[in-house]
Symmetry: C2
Subunit: 337 residues, 2 copies
């Protein structure tokens, strides 16, 4: 593999000028068919590959979008990513995924790197939506959209789903089914999502005139399958006379863990405990007992976020907007006697 060849080499081989080669690359319609063919042949002969760094340096903009996500293992985020990918693809851009793994420091490293690379735009589901690191990105002129989180100010575009409404839908569904003692499983409360879903749950509970202390909050350390199992043990540890007859989990992973824990313990769902999850990930419908869940328009979330970030990048009179989608309850066997 000889040293990579440049436009100059191509130009020399094709007996044309540098500028013409560049035109073939960027405005082929302006080049006569004959010259174009000559140049393209030369490119092939040399195995020419355009140097994107040089291109970007001169042209000023890159052909890349990035999505910095919290947890690549949670199908919710990969679905969002898929939506963003579709939007990026149709704009002729590539989407790179960066996995912050819930660590603020990694998130910061990625953001800094992306800003240095002058990507067209960044989508991010941040560890902390109010972190100053996000303002730094903005200050450096890289468009940034917050995904599935909201911020206290409106300095950014964001796309999110109405989690309070989602919480309300879930609990209304349980109340309608006649449950009068319900557990809310989720945590930590530092996550805005968890707070909102719980708030929605409370609204529905109060609206149904049920006594507040019958909505039991079972805290978790994270929104994972393992935490769901451990929450399950705690719920089952409650004396059966006072044990909730239904549980609303802050996400589907928790719900799946809970479900597993129950079936290991030989209890039936929904007989012994009805379960509502949140996110409606693929595995929810596919669980041993298909899960009732609150569906979020995941792909749509990603698609819209990508569109917003592109608008911010291209449209000089771009206005920040906070897009809020509406969730929807999908009832399945886990709440149906």
């Amino acid at each position: 593999m000889a040293k990579a060849s440049s436009v100059k080499d191509v130009a020399a081989l094709a007996h044309v000028s540098l500028g013409t080669v560049s035109n073939v690359l960027n405005r082929p319609e302006r080049v006569s068919p004959a010259t174009r063919a000559k140049v393209e042949q030369a490119m092939r002969d040399l195995g020419f590959v355009r140097n994107e760094s040089a291109r970007q340096l001169r042209a000023g903009r890159s052909r890349t979008l990035a999505y910095v996500l919290l947890d690549a293992r949670n199908p919710f985020f990969t679905d969002v990513a898929q939506g963003a990918e579709l939007a990026a693809e149709s704009a002729g851009l590539s989407l790179f995924l960066c996995h912050s793994d819930n660590r603020a420091s990694r998130e910061g490293d990625y953001l800094a790197h992306l800003v240095e690379q002058r990507v067209q735009g960044i989508l991010v589901t941040p560890v902390d939506p109010n972190a100053a690191a996000l303002d730094d990105v903005r200050r450096n002129g890289t468009p940034l959209v917050i995904v599935d989180r909201t911020r206290d100010d409106d300095h950014f575009c964001s796309v999110a789903v109405d989690d309070v409404l989602g919480g309300r839908l879930a609990v209304e569904h349980l109340v309608e089914a006649g449950h009068t003692r319900v557990a809310f499983i989720g945590g930590p409360e530092t996550i805005g999502q968890v707070r909102d879903r719980l708030a929605g749950a409370r609204e529905a509970w109060v609206a149904a005139d049920l006594p507040e202390d019958q909505l039991v909050v079972v805290g978790t350390e994270a929104l994972t399958v393992a935490e769901g199992r451990s929450a399950g043990e705690r719920v089952m540890g409650i004396a059966s006379s006072r044990r909730p007859t239904a549980a609303f989990c802050a996400n589907d992973l928790l719900a799946l863990g809970l479900l597993q824990q129950l079936s290991t313990a030989g209890l039936s769902v929904p007989g012994d405990l009805a379960i509502v999850g949140y996110d409606d990930i693929e595995y929810a419908a596919a669980a041993a007992v298909p899960l009732t869940s609150v569906r979020q328009p995941r792909q749509e979330l990603g698609r819209r976020a990508a569109e917003l970030v592109l608008d911010e990048a291209e449209n000089p009179d771009h206005l920040h907007q906070q897009v809020v989608f509406t969730p929807e309850l999908v009832a399945r066997r886990s709440t149906r006697g």
Copy 2:
């Protein structure tokens, strides 16, 4: 947001030359503390962010690794990615994930883009390990390592797991448990993995002197949960006198689908059908009936791949190697009476 400032602006503000600013950036130890402080202050005042394109253009190499993966929803790949990330991080590089979604065209687009970007190296789990697109990457001088697949020639480094052995382990386990009629569930056979696991299964079957026609192959279109359920229906459709008593699934997603299908149909695992999966993803241990599975050293796979690609990038006498890891059977309830 005023136009981004450059080293030139920083130099002017700090009353030093261009070169000094660059030294602060790249070889701070050569700059006297006083000057350094001045320059750093100027950078802060201007909100200077190094332009990575220009840096890379001049310096010749990037600070990026990329992993082009098949299916972001399959936890197997995200675990591999995690391993690669760790290796990249400790080499001071960033890892970008690119989701080919099993489409050769998307994979090709990503590879081309990455080559144009002159990334340090590419890890890829390709749709087709023998595709010419991979050779193109190599020809253009970008190091590339094939992950979890193997190629017919040895023009590349690759890291994989011995799938034939894995298949053998799975079936030996079932044979030891006394099963004499077993289904192999998986497909399409264009996937090397599937072929190898089946080959291993056959080896073990023959070694146990069992009649060949009692190892039933149930084909699938893909390695997904949905396909697992549909395969389940087909298996259950077999007259009970001739129905296998155990199934070996080519991956855990299939196994999970199968498990769900059975429990929906009111059948018991392993009572009515014992199940062995493959990959030992997190959800396998966490399934309603914990799955026996063949574990692959996923993180290790990613880590080693990243190390190899870095060696290829930095070491002039790099030799391609085909690393093959050994899988391991993890027995759980799905095969234990």
